[in-house]
Symmetry: C2
Subunit: 101 residues, 2 copies
Amino acid sequence: MDAALDNAGAVEGAAVFKALADPVRLRLMSIIASAGDEVCVCDITPRFDVSGPTISHHLKVLREAGLVDCERRGTWVYYWPRPERLTWLSTLLSVPAGTTV
Amino acid sequence: MDAALDNAGAVEGAAVFKALADPVRLRLMSIIASAGDEVCVCDITPRFDVSGPTISHHLKVLREAGLVDCERRGTWVYYWPRPERLTWLSTLLSVPAGTTV
DNA sequence: AGTCAAGATAGACGTATGTCAAAGCAGCTA
DNA sequence: TAGCTGCTTTGACATACGTCTATCTTGACT
């Protein structure tokens, strides 16, 4: 009885949750993940009320958390989701077994 | 095409993710969720290296995020998970459709 | 009432985080 | 070469957060 997360797993998991723990970043993640394709930063920025540098900062946080990846092509930078990471988070959320009730 | 989260949803979602964005809280949540039953605080606290008040603080954060609930019975306080909330988070994570790779 | 134990709350302290303006860098076009 | 555009980095600032000690509350048991 005890499939609880160990300390190391908790540290890593919490780091990824922290990346989603901001409204701007969660919307960014949602926009990128729901696009079904890569998204240009130039299409993202105007949808927010914060400055360009702030968007750039948040995208970097998502990237360092392994949730998205990006590539520069010419003048523009494109982002796409990394679904494996989201799937892994989901497994952390799934109540691990004898879920009474 | 755009099933992206709106601002209000992002604010609420981010608040719940924030509750899980700390190693201590994530372990607490894991312990409570994997117990298959309610858990006494007196059984939780000794498993951590932080002080009692700190555990109490983190449990309060989880409670206010709607992730757990609790009841005092006699001298002891018991916590249990609220799986609906975890399920809801999972739906936020599920990539919403045309997941092209 | 008095005492003890389990948790919660209050207040303080250092660190981390979100934001912006300003500067920097990469790639286009001329 | 120069100049422009899209995005990132830097540095600064105010606020939020995690932790602790000290104090309070609740209930049990004399």
